[in-house]
Symmetry: C2
């Protein structure tokens, strides 16, 4: 089984897109993460939903979790304000993985799994000649591996 046989359609966002648009895609489609492309539409990173939730939390709560309980509700609701003016690039974790979360169409299931396990990323982009064919999530990979031949 090759990567291009199991890839699925999936939205992607440019690193120059508005941060709020990316968060809306993650939320509306209930995605574990979203592929981020450079300005030339080549996938370069994955933005996991579990990283984006950081922007719901004020800096002083990240430093001292005991302060989270005293916040008023409206702080979470103001996420739209907080993300306004930010790009997708601003949301990406600073400690970038060493390799881009990208596989080729003719890569095997084992190659895809190895990349995903090394980088602990919830999904990878399948790319052929600079064009994104689709995405493989970790649960899709397990589904394929368990399917009867």
């Amino acid at each position: 089984m090759r990567a291009d046989e199991i890839a699925e359609d999936y939205p992607a966002v440019s690193c120059e897109s508005g941060a709020l648009d990316a968060v809306r895609l993650l939320a509306e489609h209930r995605l574990p993460g979203i592929v981020v492309t450079d300005s030339g539409a080549a996938p370069t990173a994955v933005l996991p939903a579990s990283q984006v939730v950081r922007f719901l939390v004020p800096g002083y709560v990240l430093d001292d979790p005991s302060l989270a309980g005293v916040l008023t509700e409206s702080m979470a609701d103001r996420v739209a304000d907080k993300l306004a003016g930010k790009t997708v690039r601003d949301l990406l974790p600073r400690d970038k993985p060493a390799e881009p979360p990208v596989v080729r169409g003719d890569d095997t299931v084992v190659e895809v799994a190895a990349l995903m396990a090394r980088n602990r990323c919830p999904l990878v982009a399948v790319v052929e000649r600079g064009r994104m064919l689709g995405v493989i999530t970790a649960s899709r990979l397990l589904q394929v591996a368990l399917a009867p031949e």
Copy 2:
């Protein structure tokens, strides 16, 4: 908004369950991860799908990724054999997070987001009096935070 208002039904597995059952749940429901409970049914960990894919990869490929391409297809298909006899406990990452991925029913959205961001976990269990009420995924949290009041 409180955690118990936004929690969703979600399967959980005991750390003593068969590894293959947990992987089947992740695959069939296309989940980003699954809650793992101790023998007393209290949630203690989350098993991310992106960690389980490690078991599709032979050890020598994790060490030397260049060997992945020379594998025959059947290696991935043999995952069922590889997981036979293993428990969910065997699948959990060794470097356990410092705090369990658990929130209380009356925790706020900000408290949930802070825990998720600190531990980079794709979901948390909502627990009240030792009983799991449900699960909140990162994308569910974003959905709630973006929803109009």
